[in-house]
Amino acid sequence: MEQDINIKITDRDGVTHDVLAPTDMAMNLMEVVRSYELAPEGTIGICGGMAMCASCQCYVLSDTALPEMQDDEEAMLSEAFDVKENSRLGCQIQITPEMEGLEVELAPES
């Protein structure tokens, strides 16, 4: 489908998956991971996508332009574990056509 984009997601076991993500279903990156079951249910998106649990933390590997971090995401990441320079919360990244080629790696479960 033409509104789908290609994303590379490396799961917590280090396996990289090429997935197609729809841009017209108001999905965020955390939901894409869940829809492909790349992390066990109950270990990702625990708060449902409110930037309140950091279970969807991921490391952005490509230099894709992403929406700027809002205060609540920044605050949550400041309390999370295994945080790196390129950490983002998947639930705060809405999938748009501009993200074609995005590459991310899931942070460890905590």
């Binding site: 066990p40 249910e41 109950g42 625990i46 708060c47 649990c53 605050a75 400041s78 309390e79």
Partner: protein, 353 residues
């Protein structure tokens, strides 16, 4: 021993609504929850956030939903064991179950309904290599007994409401309170942030930001923590203390329920959704977010439906062979265990002249 008809594990929306549905069938309920208050995720994670898909509520705050559910079920006098986690379950010869909590409280019931959501909320532990060695020897992830910090030196880490609130509270009790956070900004209620600022200015709270505890020093008990501060230039130093309290929030874990012999799939309990949401162990049901079946949706409204069907099935276990038909509350009213009765007002029969 606490005895009841249906023992509910989890006092979130699904567990609370079960009390109402069971009450209509004259079944008594008791609920166990690891959190100190009712409401589950709704009160612990997002009490001030709106929910838009509760039927007939175009918008309701999660905290308000909890209050409404409490109000709806109160005439059925549910019992609560709060702040304790259901740990073990033992089947008795008479078919009933005894569930024991981590604090040793025992509960007995012929039917157990697990309405545990994503599991019990456990503290998130920071990744400090030797922290496990000092657990309960000066490291506490939750404050249960504030008096134990009287005249002690305390280091609190975290940037949310609990870190702020406990720093404020302990500043009156402990001899020294140090609050450490990775950023200069805290996220919490405005008045808590302002109060900490005030106490910092008054020299009652020692604030260290942006910094992180990276190690613990001590022999048997905590003697100091190693702090890495990143202001201007990075430096490491020790702070003498008797207690280190990391408050990094709670995350749900399925926990001991996973060892009850129940069939688990995708971190959830498999149930028979064609019939009554019973698990592979007869007499144990799983309802709400904690269960799974083909097509499962983790929605509060689905939990309500599952609770209702589960109660009908539980009635059969508790009252074998006893006849019963579903009644509408509009027709039959609601008779509380507390002697109250709610009913539709009678129609007036009067001649019009």
């Amino acid at each position: 021993m606490i005895k009841t008809d249906i023992l509910i594990i989890g006092a979130g929306p699904t567990g609370l609504f079960t009390v109402f549905e069971a009450g209509l069938l004259k079944l008594k309920c008791h609920l166990i929850d690891a959190l100190p208050q009712q409401g589950g995720q709704c009160s612990e994670l997002y009490p001030k956030k709106p929910i838009y898909d509760i039927p007939a509520y175009p918008e309701i705050l999660a905290g308000d939903l909890t209050h409404k559910l409490m109000e709806q079920c109160k005439q059925f006098e549910p019992g609560f064991t709060l702040g304790e986690r259901a740990e073990t379950i033992e089947k008795q010869e008479d078919g009933s179950f005894i569930v024991t909590t981590n604090k040793g409280t025992k509960h007995q019931a012929p039917v157990v309904a697990i309405a545990g959501g994503l599991g019990s909320f456990e503290p998130r532990k920071p990744l400090i290599h030797n922290i496990a060695h000092f657990e309960d020897k000066g490291v506490e992830y939750m404050i249960k007994e504030p008096e134990m910090y009287r005249n002690k030196k305390v280091v609190i880490a975290g940037g949310g409401d609990s870190a702020l609130d406990w720093s404020i509270y302990l500043s009156d009790i402990a001899s020294e309170v140090t609050l450490i956070h990775r950023r200069n900004e805290f996220r919490g209620h405005l008045d808590s942030v302002e109060k900490v600022q005030e106490l910092k200015n008054a020299g009652k709270i020692n604030l260290i930001t942006p910094a992180e505890v990276i190690g613990i020093v001590g022999d048997k008990n905590v003697k100091a923590v190693v702090v890495k501060q990143a202001q201007h230039i990075e430096k490491e130093f020790e702070i003498q203390c008797d207690h280190f309290i990391p408050l990094f929030g709670l995350s749900p874990k399925l926990g001991p329920i996973a060892n009850w012999g129940l069939e688990i799939e995708k971190n959830a309990i498999k149930v028979n959704n064609a019939l009554d949401y019973q698990t592979n162990i007869p007499g144990i049901y799983a309802i709400g977010d904690v269960n799974t079946y083909p097509g499962k949706l983790k929605l509060i409204l689905c939990g309500f439906h599952e609770a209702t069907l589960m109660c009908q099935s539980a009635y059969q276990i508790i009252n074998p062979g006893k006849r019963f038909v579903l009644k509408y509350t509009t027709v039959s009213g609601v008779n509380g265990f507390d002697g109250t009765r709610k009913e539709a007002p009678k129609a007036v029969v009067k001649k019009i002249e």
